[in-house]
């Protein structure tokens, strides 16, 4: 299991050979690996786009724009904002589901963001290593084909859990407008058993947005930073799917 070897300080190691992801899978001796399959990439960018739209429109639902003048029938500002939110919400839900389904058929990396291997000591060791790397305590980063273990942990909580939470609470809120006989209410009405007053659901949904904002900020920062710092491509991998190892 233990394949990730710390690079020896004196000799130049066979980088590609030791590059391993968090599950310890050895990347075969190629300078470039196909990590992110097309569906993963499509889902990523569709979801990223939806989330940005959802954040902007969601914020405006909570704090609407200044009043518009004229007849009510000539304007539909709030209506469009909410429509955009709900449309983006449905898109996100569909592509999130697709992404989950792909985890069953796709390659090993496509499964990473849906679990944390809690039981594996090695995994946590590497998480620690990554933390030390980000805290400037390690000089050399390790190489990983998929997510590094810290990223996997962050992805799982920051993306998988939060987005799932947003979708569940979002659809519960949506069901309020659709009526208690709607399928949305049948599927997600249980949320109101937890928070009988939907004002609380609004509040949590709103807080969830800010959690995602924080996640996205860190996500983009680390993506760019790793791209520069860690001797493996990040940004372009998400576009082309190939991960290059640069040294």
């Amino acid at each position: 299991m233990m394949d990730a070897v710390a690079p020896a300080s004196d000799a130049r190691p066979d980088l590609a050979a030791i590059a391993a992801d968090a599950s310890g899978e050895r990347a075969v001796g190629r300078p470039s690996v196909y990590v992110y399959e097309a569906p993963v990439r499509i889902c990523h960018w569709v979801n990223a786009f939806s989330i940005i739209v959802l954040m902007v429109t969601g914020y405006l639902i909570g704090t609407p724009l200044p009043t518009v003048a004229g007849e009510a029938s000539d304007n539909f500002v709030m209506g469009y904002i909410r429509f955009a939110h709900f449309a983006a919400g449905q898109v996100l839900a569909v592509f999130f589901l697709t992404r989950i389904l792909w985890a069953f058929v796709g390659n090993h990396h496509s499964r990473q963001i849906f679990y944390i291997p809690f039981h594996r000591k090695q995994f946590w060791k590497e998480v620690l290593h990554e933390i030390r790397w980000y805290a400037f305590l390690e000089r050399e980063p390790k190489m990983h084909v998929g997510h590094n273990p810290l990223a996997q942990t962050a992805m799982f909580t920051g993306f998988t859990l939060f987005v799932a939470f947003m979708i569940v609470t979002g659809f519960a809120l949506y069901s309020e407008g659709q009526g208690i006989d709607s399928w949305q209410h049948k599927l997600f009405g249980w949320v109101f058993a937890i928070w009988p007053n939907s004002q609380d659901v609004h509040t949590w949904h709103h807080l969830g947005m800010w959690a995602l904002v924080v996640f996205v900020m860190v996500h983009i920062y680390t993506a760019i930073r790793e791209d520069i710092m860690s001797r493996q491509s990040i940004i372009s991998s998400m576009i082309s799917g190939e991960r290059q190892f640069r040294d």
């Binding site: 914020y59 909570g62 704090t63 609407p64 724009l65 200044p66 009043t67 518009v68 007849e71 009510a72 029938s73 000539d74 304007n75 539909f76 500002v77 709030m78 209506g79 904002i81 909410r82 980000y134 400037f136 000089r139 309020e176 407008g177 009526g179 208690i180 009405g189 109101f192 058993a193 009988p196 007053n197 939907s198 004002q199 609380d200 609004h202 509040t203 709103h206 807080l207 947005m209 800010w210 959690a211 904002v213 924080v214 900020m217 860190v218 920062y221 930073r225 520069i228 710092m229």
Partner: protein
């Protein structure tokens, strides 16, 4: 007493109400409950043959606004009928009997109509200090409630107090005021929340239970679906202004005169299930939003503990200081943004240093 064995029909006939009038009432009732024309004859049949249902109406910690609302039900026919339809054997606020004479009625009803009477509860019992914050007839109210619930057919929890706890249960709830369904767990309970509930909703619920001898269909939270399945916002007449993005920003501004949406004034219509925007109040003349004031969500759980009635975003108290989601979120995002910036700066410096080191090393 003893009147409980009469039928509703015989009572109103004795009062000189005509048969035609009676049928009119039945179809009116059917309509107000959202039932079809067939139901009218079922209601008529039930009222002609069934004995009147005895009702015990008790008051815990409350302000009596539910009673006030109930006795002002708009349609005179409905009100007369409801009051004749049930045999209101005990209601310590409006009954003529007082003292021991009144308390004796409770025992009598319990013995004579075991399992047949309806227990209508306004207000709730406080549980702290053995219930001593609400002493009724020399006993803690909670004991009286449990005693009368024991043999009741069903329980109506009137108002926000009995359903959710209302103001006396607001944090920190020093008396531990507790909603009825947390105290009585073995009886069917129908919640009719609101502070107070709308009179027509109250009479509608009573009519349904007395005519059909069972509770109407309830939603997940135990409220009658026919009155509580839609939000104020779904049927609000100011909704076009909401969709258009036209809001009142301040009391008495131009927008307020024009009747714009009260969302920015903290209207809780989007999160409140009640019939105000359809049934309306005081004989259907108006409802809070029509009077230019946002809905405060009085029929919702814990509506006293969600910050100001005039803020759109709920205050969150869990974080020590009172802040709303945006304030908390912006602080968090700002902090993380700053951390990212610092981290990036340190990274850049380190990288430069490493490069120079590498360069030194290589040369």
């Amino acid at each position: 007493m003893g009147a409980a064995t009469e039928t509703f029909y015989s009572v109103i006939r004795r009062q000189g109400i005509t048969r035609r009038c009676f049928h009119k009432f039945c179809s009116l009732t059917a309509t107000s409950l959202g039932l079809g024309p067939l139901a009218a004859s079922r209601i008529a049949n039930a009222l002609e043959t069934k004995p009147r249902v005895p009702v015990i109406w008790m008051h815990g910690l409350e302000c009596t606004c539910c009673s006030e609302s109930f006795i002002r039900s708009a349609h005179p026919l409905v009100k007369d009928a409801v009051l004749s339809m049930i045999s209101l054997d005990y209601d310590d606020t409006i009954m003529a009997a007082a003292g021991h004479q009144a308390e004796a009625i409770l025992e009598e009803t319990r013995a004579k109509h075991k399992g047949q009477y309806i227990l209508a509860v306004e207000g709730n019992p406080p549980l702290n200090e053995g219930g001593m914050f609400c002493i009724d007839g020399g006993k803690p109210f909670v004991e009286k409630l449990k005693m009368m619930a024991e043999d009741a057919m069903a329980i109506i929890a009137w108002g926000a107090c009995a359903s959710w706890g209302c103001v006396q249960a607001a944090k920190p709830n020093p008396t531990q005021a507790t909603p009825i369904d947390k105290v009585i767990t073995n009886k069917p309970i129908i919640k009719v929340p609101g502070c107070p509930p709308i009179a027509e909703v109250m009479t509608g619920v009573v009519t349904f239970i007395t005519t059909f001898g069972k509770l109407p269909e309830l939603d997940r939270q135990g409220r009658p679906k026919m009155f509580y399945s839609q939000r104020i916002h779904d049927k609000c007449y100011r909704r076009p202004h909401f969709d258009a993005g036209q809001f009142v920003e301040e009391w008495d501004d131009e927008a307020a005169r024009k009747g714009y949406c009260l969302y920015k004034m903290g209207c809780k219509g989007p999160t409140t299930y009640n019939a105000c925007s359809t049934v309306r109040w005081n004989g259907g003349v108006s409802f809070p939003i029509q009077s230019g004031h946002g809905c405060i969500g009085c029929s919702e759980d814990g509506f006293w503990d969600k910050g100001s009635f005039y803020d759109r975003l709920t205050n969150i108290k869990q974080f020590g200081i009172e802040k709303n989601a945006d304030q908390i979120g912006m602080v968090a995002a700002g902090a993380v943004g700053a951390a990212v910036a610092v981290h990036a700066a340190v990274t850049a410096v380190k990288r430069l240093a490493t490069k120079r080191e590498d360069a030194d090393h290589n040369s």
